[in-house]
Amino acid sequence: MSALRIKKGSTSHSAYNLRPTFSDVQERHTLALLVENEAGVLARVIGLFSGRGYNIESLTVAEVDHDNALSRITVVTVGTPQVIEQIKAQLGRIVPVRDVHDLTVEGPAVERELALIKVSGAGDKRIEALRLAEIFRANVVDSTLESFVFEMTGASDKIDAFCELMRPLGLQEIARTGVAAMSRGSA
């Protein structure tokens, strides 16, 4: 029997290359998980994303119910609708995950992030930074003669915009918390 005309040195990729995606559109979704606050639960969530090749754009976690030892994890992820569905199903299957909510599809939600932004400079640049901070409602939480640390809370794109403006004005350092999100209304 003859060789099957495979070119020598044809490289191997993954077996999953031939998977047709149901739709190619990439969507950004914010997921809120309620998890039992046991050792390793965050590692399980993160391991799921890395192990299965999903994206994490932002992730925040903190205990929200001390008595019942429950934490809330907010994950912002990007994928095709099918991948997003898989992510939710896979998250739901982790034993200590109690609840998975897709805030992006479950109706309007508010999303906020907190950032600390250090800008240093002198003269006009310093004055301009302060002026812009006022427009963006960023607070000065530390100042020296050469620098400011601004604190701002807002939607992620607003923080992005502010950081971009600070770049030419002496941006030194950014610390961001990642997104915390919640559905609007009473439910």
Binding site: L4, F22, E36, Q86, A89, R93, P96
Partner: protein, 583 residues
Amino acid sequence: MANMTGAQMVVKALKDQGVEVIFGYPGGAVLPIYDEIFQQNDIRHILVRHEQAAVHAAEGYARSTGKPGVALVTSGPGATNAVTGLTDALMDSIPIVVLSGQVPTFMIGSDAFQEADTVGITRPCTKHNWLVKETDALADTLHEAFHVCTNGRPGPVLVDIPKDVQFASGTYKAPGKADIGHYQPRLKGDPEAIEQMVALMETAERPVFYTGGGVINSGPAASQLLREFVAETGFPITSTLMGLGCYPASGEAWLGMLGMHGLYEANMAMHGCDLMINIGARFDDRITGRLDAFSPESKKIHVDIDPSSINKVVKADVPILGDVAHVLEDALRIWKSRGRKTNKEGLQKWWAQIEQWKQVECLKFKQEGAVIKPQYAVQRLEELTKGMDRYISTEVGQHQMWAAQYLGFEDPNRWMTSGGLGTMGYGFPASVGIQVAHPDALVVNVAGEASWLMNMQEMGTAVQYRLPVKQFILNNERLGMVRQWQELLHGERYSHSWSDALPDFVKLAEAFGAKGIICSDPNDLDDAIMEMIKHDGPVIFDCLVTKHENCFPMIPSGKAHNEMLLGEADTQGVIDAKGSVLV
């Protein structure tokens, strides 16, 4: 609520969970538990010769009984040796509980002797795992472990128990009293979806049941209900490698296994159907072939207990989340109450078409010449053992596929094979676990010589416990499945696919105190097989077979169901570069 040490709790919890046997291997970090095992007679401990084998044996035990299998290993290397078995059980949804010892809590993180981050290492290869840091939490955790591993989609769990937790005293809680957490998957399917399913079944012209391991997982009632549904509707049925036995091979509607090495009629029916009824199967890539050409004209019903299986690779038109037995019970009831309707005319034509496909006789082969063909060996094994109380395990490779094709399974839980992970070395220890569970049954491991060598140390276990497991080795002196791919995909460049320097299997058996049989002449085969069956003890059967046999039918990677290769003549130039990157 009694006060006792952690080690006592382990043994007590196992007893309370109905565990009769555990497979294990001792070491420093589990000595307190071994001490307790020594002082009781309710739980039998089987000393394996390698921790991987302990886990596979537990899998064989679990799959052949429907009960969870239990393995006990020490910290560090004991736990890391268990990883392959855990991954195997995860991929095939097998309920097992692995207990591992750990260094004392106050030494964790200090690179102590035989310390490994066992929960970290096994997190992605278990359904869930726990490190128990206090003796008072041990009973809850052990009972939760059994609850999680057997409920919903079954899978392996691991409980890591530091040595000081085993020594310390605490309060034991019985199963009914323990806090087993919130894990409670849904069993009942959505009635509306089931109604839709029935409606589609009433009008379908070319329906097919595509069944899988989920039917076996769901328990004997699921197989019973499935059989009734098939008999009532007259729909054809196929099954994955993992589902064999859920419908009897002698049944009228049986099409045989489907998939990469499945039967022509099964794959053509999947390709041409207008209604696919997936019961507990997961659209594995061995089944679907090229996805954009997979069963293009069918509506798809998908019954599965795991939401992540649904719409993962193939979009379901009617997804039904629930347990197979529960869903089938409701579906059958609704179908009956709506008047037991099927599209008789359509079905008649469909069966006529299927009969034509069957004429192809895709499993036909000719035993000629002086050398035994592997297909012939399996066929003779089937003929000589089919009426018996028989359990089969396999290793991984061509022999596994031939076993799936040429053996017939009449009942669930009779067929144990490593499907998802494809673990060479699975079959022998699995056969040990099966034989422990069914001491009087005939247990045969259909093996390839290369796979079998991977866990051959278990001969010691088989001999020590007088387990009469039959190791039926189809010896082609090749890593046959690899050789086949190299022939078809890599220009016949047989890179390292020989089994060189093989042992003399008869002498090897004798060295362990077991019986060895060698057979090379087709005329002697029946007698030799009978000799193997009749021998009351473990046997290594070295069946010398043709060396370059390929396994057909075969759907090459990246091809559609109707592009199947039926024999050598079909193989010219079929797999393109895109297909060759697939595994």
